[in-house]
């Protein structure tokens, strides 16, 4: 605690010091007006930003905007407004600068159209033109533009976790990506799914639910419609200290805002149908603007199979206005958004026969209020307050047939430990249950910035702020309609789930401070951002390690640019990012395990006798810590005019990811299996007294969440962006990455030989320092050839993807013998020389602890080079109506290969095509 609090104190001192210096100097002031190029009308509510300076303002109703305290130097000013092409302008800041800018309505008739992501360091931004051109159905489709992404079909009937800078995906990386809408994180931390069969705590698993739900795996991208998005930023590098509760960077969504004509979108392909309509109104001279949008999506995974479907209805209202407070401009945004989805399955032939169903109803209502005061005072440049509340109702309903394949099973009855008379379950029954989650997230943020010029050419900014989140789940949790008909009785483990509303709210306070320096000397520019973010979880049970624990994450980004026409930028960063455990991880349910003492089953019900012995296991981990990711990044960008070459190397290591560990706990109880010599139970119910009472010991297993998952990511991302080749009217972008991802665990391997020795359970569990790890590597190149013919208002894209290298390999310490073992006392013992000799001998008891290792397990799985070709084209007609068409996998060459396990494999996918229409009404 002392260690973590220390940097905070240091930074607070620094802040005071800098504030004192603030009065020393001012930077330049940049102001201007925005007008429509066609009719000269003022363009209000456009976003005007200064790249690299974290300066962002909104134009007022008269199209006026102003920045103060801009460091001297040459900066890029960017104007984005719904319906207009993005405008960028290099601005030389010295003294007062006044600009008159004219915005052109977005059209393929313009000589330049931005259909790719633009990058600045490791931050990628996808603007509205590109967002429309991609023809996305969800945010997942947009990520293909990022270097290192590979194309894959987007199946909306399944949950797919977000993958970031890695080969494959893992729960912790997906959980650690912070998806934010207008600066407020979309939180899934309050979701909780505790029931044997759903939680990884139990033995059996409901695959229908597991495939469709992503508890503890972050944001479900299917729920995020791209139709309400004006632009989206992806920051996979070191995040600003402003952002927390993440390990894998941020996805920042900026909602559509401002006035615009009615615009409709219709999309249809083999799996999805989508319709959208949106319009922005100007509400009088002082009334601000209101933008409304509604979209509906219907998706199936297979056009021939309509019993597995996903429907999504989203609507969003975004209100913007500018007021004046004490003579200072105050921007106010209010956003109300609603998402309703329904995922329903009543699938294959078998399911028909069983009449089994799965239904997930999801509804999220979010309200956000944001006020930004552009104070432009020496001591306070900007003050921003955000209050957001959202309410989600997520209900998964299941009607499931339970049919024992091995005869009758035990009915869960016990609520306490000990011996009790049991009842057999019927061999076949239907179990109805639902999981009800109703998390309410409240988020309050206060941000301030101070900007001043310390000396000639040295701009300084101090950003600081506070954030408070409150997550409370009001749902009923897992509810089994008839507890005597459990849905997952298979291994006699049960939970007695508490309602989610009985779980206390998770409250987290955070504060940050970030100092920025921008030094310009001729053609040299040095910029630095150093910050720290401190987080403190509250309202946890007092014996939790996390409760009231203050944790600090340092973040640092440095960049140096030399040149003007030819410009070389070198950049480096280090940051630590922290993700708190979710409510599901923090509050697992106890596991009730029924052991059979007497298990006499006959055809005559009156002669059956079941006696069980119940033990209760608490899987909660009070020592649970957050997952942390240490990130290093270095990069170089070379720009010549509009051509750009970027290289980014990164190394990320997270060692405390959440992972379920199987815990072996011994249990000893009395069993009645062998009839006493001469005992005759014919015609009556057998009693304990008819049997030999025998002590029976075994190891019971349950799973406990631990901080043990280790993910190491290495990679080099590259991007070459070339301006249009005039002759071919084609601009080229080549990007890709080499990624190497290691998935490992810091836990030792526990191995239990399931041997019966003389009718008794095997008495030892071996503990092996195995160090197992799976390493995945991939090298890809994605080539985009964007052919743009403004005269015909035509855009044609050829996308060719090469995956040059795609390998995976398992490795471990090849540990044949255990270092420790657990016996029926529950104690762990070191394996000494004597025991080791027994294990390595033919000893009838100990030899089982020696493992057999097959070299084939270590073989490298190497896929051959694969090539994929997608095309898409958009033709624009009068009044901005656009017709688009795409064919994915028009060519897909994935040769067959011999896998590491010596099996011949081939990856095969069908071509996939669709149509889309954008229509602009003159309304």
């Amino acid at each position: 605690m002392a260690l973590t609090a220390h940097p905070m104190r240091l930074l607070a001192t620094l802040l005071l010091l800098l504030a004192a210096l603030a009065s020393r100097g001012q930077g330049c002031a940049v102001s201007g007006t925005l007008a429509d190029d066609n009719n000269g009308e003022a363009v209000g509510f456009a976003i005007v930003s200064m790249e690299g300076l974290d300066l962002r303002v909104q134009s007022d109703i008269n199209g006026a905007f102003a920045f103060s305290n801009v460091p001297e130097g040459e900066w890029t000013l960017r104007v984005e407004c719904l319906g207009y092409a993005t405008l960028t302008r290099r601005v030389r800041c010295k003294g007062n600068v006044s600009l008159r800018l004219r915005l052109k309505p977005g059209s393929l008739a313009l000589p330049e159209v931005e259909v790719m992501a633009r990058s600045r360091g490791s931050k990628y931004t996808v603007g509205q033109t590109a967002l429309e051109y991609i023809q996305p159905t969800s945010l997942a489709d947009v990520m293909l533009l990022l270097p290192g992404s590979v194309y894959r079909e987007n199946d909306l009937t399944r949950f797919t976790p977000i993958s970031t800078r890695q080969v494959g995906s893992d729960d912790n990386s997906a959980l650690g990506v912070s998806v934010m809408a207008d600066g407020v994180a979309i939180s899934t931390d309050g979701m909780r799914s505790q029931l044997v069969g759903l939680t990884q705590n139990g033995g059996s698993n409901d695959t229908e639910i597991a495939a469709r739900s992503g508890v503890n795996q972050g944001v479900d991208m299917r729920y995020i419609s791209t139709d309400h998005i004006q632009s989206v930023d992806f920051q996979r590098g070191i995040s600003s200290a402003r952002y927390g509760n993440l390990t894998g960077g941020t996805v920042q969504i900026h909602s559509k805002r401002g006035a615009s004509p009615l615009r409709a979108r219709l999309k249809s392909d083999l799996r999805t149908s989508l319709a959208y309509a949106g319009k922005g109104w100007r509400l009088g001279a002082r009334g601000g603007t209101l933008h409304l949008g509604v979209d509906f999506l219907h998706a199936t995974n297979d056009p021939r199979e309509n019993m597995d479907k996903f429907n999504r209805l989203t609507a969003q209202a975004f209100y913007s206005n500018r007021f004046r407070l004490l003579g200072m401009p105050l921007d106010m945004d209010v956003r109300l958004s609603q998402t309703v989805t329904m995922n329903k399955m009543k699938k294959d032939e078998l399911t028909y026969e069983y009449d089994e169903t799965y239904k997930a109803d999801y509804s999220r209502t979010a309200l956000m209020w944001k006020a930004t005061l552009n104070a432009s005072r020496p001591w306070l440049d900007r003050l921003e307050a955000v209050v957001s509340a959202d309410y989600t109702r997520d209900r998964v309903t299941r009607h499931k047939m339970v049919l024992s394949g091995s005869g009758p099973m035990n009915m869960p009855l016990a609520w306490q430990e000990g011996e009790m008379e049991g009842i057999y379950l019927p061999g076949k029954y239907y179990s109805d249950f639902h999981i009800d989650n109703q998390p309410v997230n409240i988020n309050v943020q206060l941000h301030a910035s101070t900007r001043f010029t310390l000396m000639q050419g040295l701009g300084t900014s101090i950003l600081y702020g506070l954030e408070y989140t409150d997550v409370k789940n009001h749902g009923r949790g897992a509810v089994i309609d008839d507890p005597a008909r459990p849905p997952f009785p298979y291994d006699n483990s049960y939970m007695r789930p508490r309602p989610n509303y009985a779980i206390p709210a998770m409250r987290t306070g955070a504060g940050y401070l970030q100092a920025g320096l921008a030094l310009e000397r001729g053609i040299h520019t040095l910029s630095l951002q150093a910050g720290v973010r401190a987080t403190c979880p509250m309202n946890l049970p007092h014996d939790y390690w996390l409760n009231h624990r203050l944790m600090a994450d340092p973040r640092l980004n440095v960049s140096y640019t030399v040149g003007s026409r030819w410009a070389l930028t070198l950049r480096a960063g280090y940051g630590r990012e922290t993700k708190m455990p979710t409510m599901d991880y923090l509050y697992p349910e106890k596991v009730y395990k029924d052991f059979y003492m007497l298990n006499a089953y006959t055809t005559e019900p009156e002669r059956r006798h079941l006696i069980t012995y119940t033990r209760i296991y608490d899987p909660s981990n009070r020592r649970l810590r957050p997952n942390t990711n240490n990130k290093w990044e270095a990069g170089a960008d070379l720009a010549y005019g509009r051509a750009q070459l970027s290289l980014t190397a990164f190394y990320e290591r997270s060692t405390r990811g959440f992972e379920y560990m199987t815990t072996y706990t011994p249990a000893t109880y009395t069993v009645y299996t062998t009839l006493l010599p001469g005992a005759d139970v014919s015609g009556r119910r057998p009693e304990k007294s008819d049997y030999v009472a025998e002590q029976y010991s075994l190891f019971n297993t349950f799973r406990r969440v631990m901080n043990s998952s280790k993910v190491t990511k290495r990679g080099i991302e590259y991007r070459l962006s070339l301006p249009e080749i005039k002759l071919l009217r084609t601009s080229v972008e080549v990007n890709g990455a080499w990624y190497q991802t290691d998935y490992a665990s810091s836990l030792p391997t526990y191995w239990y030989p399931a041997a019966k020795i003389g009718g008794k359970e095997y008495p030892y569990v071996g503990i092996y320092d195995n160090g197992s790890r799976n390493r995945y590597s991939r090298l890809n190149t994605n080539v985009w050839l964007n052919t743009h013919i403004p005269r015909f208002k035509l855009m044609l894209t050829n996308f060719v993807q090469f995956v040059w290298l795609n390998t995976s390999q398992y490795s471990d310490n090849r540990c044949y013998d255990p270092q420790q073992y657990i016996d029926f006392s529950g104690a762990a013992h070191e394996v000494d020389a004597t025991t080791l000799a027994r294990i390595e001998s033919q000893d009838g008891l100990w030899r089982y602890l020696r493992r057999t290792i097959l070299p084939i397990n270590y073989a490298r799985d190497k896929k051959p080079v694969s090539v994929l070709w997608n095309i898409k084209a958009t033709k624009e007609f009068g009044n901005g109506t656009k017709l688009s068409f795409f064919v994915n996998r028009i060519i897909d060459i994935s040769p067959k290969y011999l896998s590491g396990s010596r099996v011949t494999r081939r990856e095969w996918n069908d071509p996939f095509f669709g149509l889309e229409l954008y229509y602009n009404f003159k309304l």
């Binding site: 091995s406 076949k428 006959t602 055809t603 299996t673 057998p686 390999q809 057999t852 060459i893």
Partner: protein, 418 residues
């Protein structure tokens, strides 16, 4: 236009690659001539000249086409066939000096034929054409399972053994094992160190008793059920049968998803739980094959001594390759000497067939295949009626001796009296 041409060229180039990879190789002459040599498994046990005139059959594994080649007096044959993988077999019945029929047979599965194997050596066995009926035989094996309420399961697996002799046999100590090697697998590293002299087993069950507790009269049967309950009475079990009349039950213990019928005594279970051993179970596709042998009695002491005496460790050193490390593969194996096996049936299913013979040819030179799993296909021995008594055919060739019956038999309480 230039762009169009270059794109077209790319598309054409890609298509050429696609088509090239699909080109047919039917026209290429695939045939190869090799020599096949037959020799006795036990040197001097058989005059190889008796094979003259017999044929060696090569069955193409893919097409099931059979090509026959005559053997000369030295047991050799010139074989000209297409390259490929074949099952090789020889069957000839001759009379021995005592005038009894003896089958000379050979079975080799999945033999690769190419220039790399100019000579294929095969070892033939001479076997009595009729089993002598000295001890119990399997009369029914139900491993296939069924569908109940549409779901695949096999709760009512059972085995019936039969006394084919003219005297009372005692079941005490009679043990039924299943092979450790799966019939669909390629030969495991340890295969040749054990087969054909010993059969590695995953586990076995033993009928309890000190020696004379469970007499079985001549022509009488003994039923061993995995779970001796009335499965047909369980809700949803619409294709299961009543096994309450079983003589013995396999009860896997308190935590094994199994119930215990107190009216039916339990067999003793012995399992080898070393890695790559699957214990005692019947695989619904017949990938493990059952075999029967006899212990002196059915007591735990005798079993423990047997296990200790028949457990050995197979050690294989594997050299490092490009991407795999060197390793010592140690597998502990429990095996039954082939000479002590009293009956065995090589089982598998039609899709996989018998890739590797897991029951030595001297015990079963045939095979019994089910069409797939959970189809209620019962393996039952051909009935031979001798007067009023029922006997079963046993020629150590399950292709001939075993037939498939659709639907398993029911053994309700008191079935013997019905």
């Amino acid at each position: 236009m230039q762009r169009f041409i270059s794109r077209l060229a790319l598309a054409m180039a890609s298509l050429t690659i696609v088509f090239a990879s699909c080109s047919s190789d039917d026209d290429i002459d695939n045939s190869v001539t090799i020599q096949f040599n037959a020799a006795p498994t036990v040197s001097g046990a058989l005059d190889i000249a008796t094979l003259q005139g017999a044929t060696v059959d090569f069955t193409d594994v893919r097409s099931q086409d059979v090509k026959r080649f005559p053997l000369d007096a030295e047991g050799k044959a010139q074989v000209t066939i297409n390259r490929g993988t074949y099952h090789i077999s020889i069957d000839k019945t001759v009379q021995n000096a005592q005038g009894e029929d003896v089958v000379i047979s050979l079975r080799m599965e999945n033999v690769s034929v190419s220039e790399a194997t100019p000579v294929i050596q095969g070892y033939v066995n001479s076997l009595p054409a009729k089993a002598l009926g000295q001890d119990f035989i399997f009369s029914e094996i139900f491993f296939n399972g069924e569908r109940n309420s549409g779901r695949m399961m096999h709760p009512d697996q059972y085995i019936v053994i039969f006394n084919p002799t003219e005297r009372t046999l005692y079941a005490d100590g009679v043990s039924i094992a299943v092979t450790q090697h799966l019939s669909w697998q390629n030969k495991q590293l340890w295969y040749d160190s054990y087969y054909p002299e010993r059969v590695p087993v995953g586990g076995f069950i033993t009928i309890p008793g000190t020696g004379q507790e469970h007499p079985v009269a001549p022509g009488e049967r003994l039923v061993i059920a995995f779970t001796a309950i009335d499965h047909s009475a369980v809700e949803g079990y619409d294709h299961a049968v009543d096994l309450t009349g079983a003589d013995f039950e396999v009860y896997f213990g308190p935590e094994s998803k199994d119930v215990d019928n107190p009216d039916v005594p339990n067999v003793l279970i012995t399992e080898n739980a070393d890695p790559y051993s699957y214990g005692f179970f019947l695989q619904p596709r017949g990938y493990v094959s059952p075999l029967m042998f006899r212990l002196a009695d059915g007591t735990q002491t005798t079993i423990d001594a047997y296990v200790a005496a028949n457990t050995s460790r197979s050690k294989t050193h594997v050299a490092a390759k490009d991407d795999t490390p060197e390793a010592d593969i140690d597998v502990t194996i429990l095996s039954v000497p082939t000479s002590t096996v009293i009956d065995a049936v090589q089982t598998s299913d039609v899709p996989q067939d018998v890739k590797t013979r897991v029951i030595p040819e001297v015990l079963d030179r045939g095979k019994f295949l089910v069409n797939g799993c959970h189809r209620q296909e019962l393996c039952v021995r051909k009935v031979i009626e001798v007067g009023s008594r029922t006997f079963y055919q046993d020629t150590n060739n399950s292709t001939e001796d075993m037939v498939m019956q659709q639907g398993q038999n029911s053994f309700p309480k008191g079935w013997r009296d019905k």
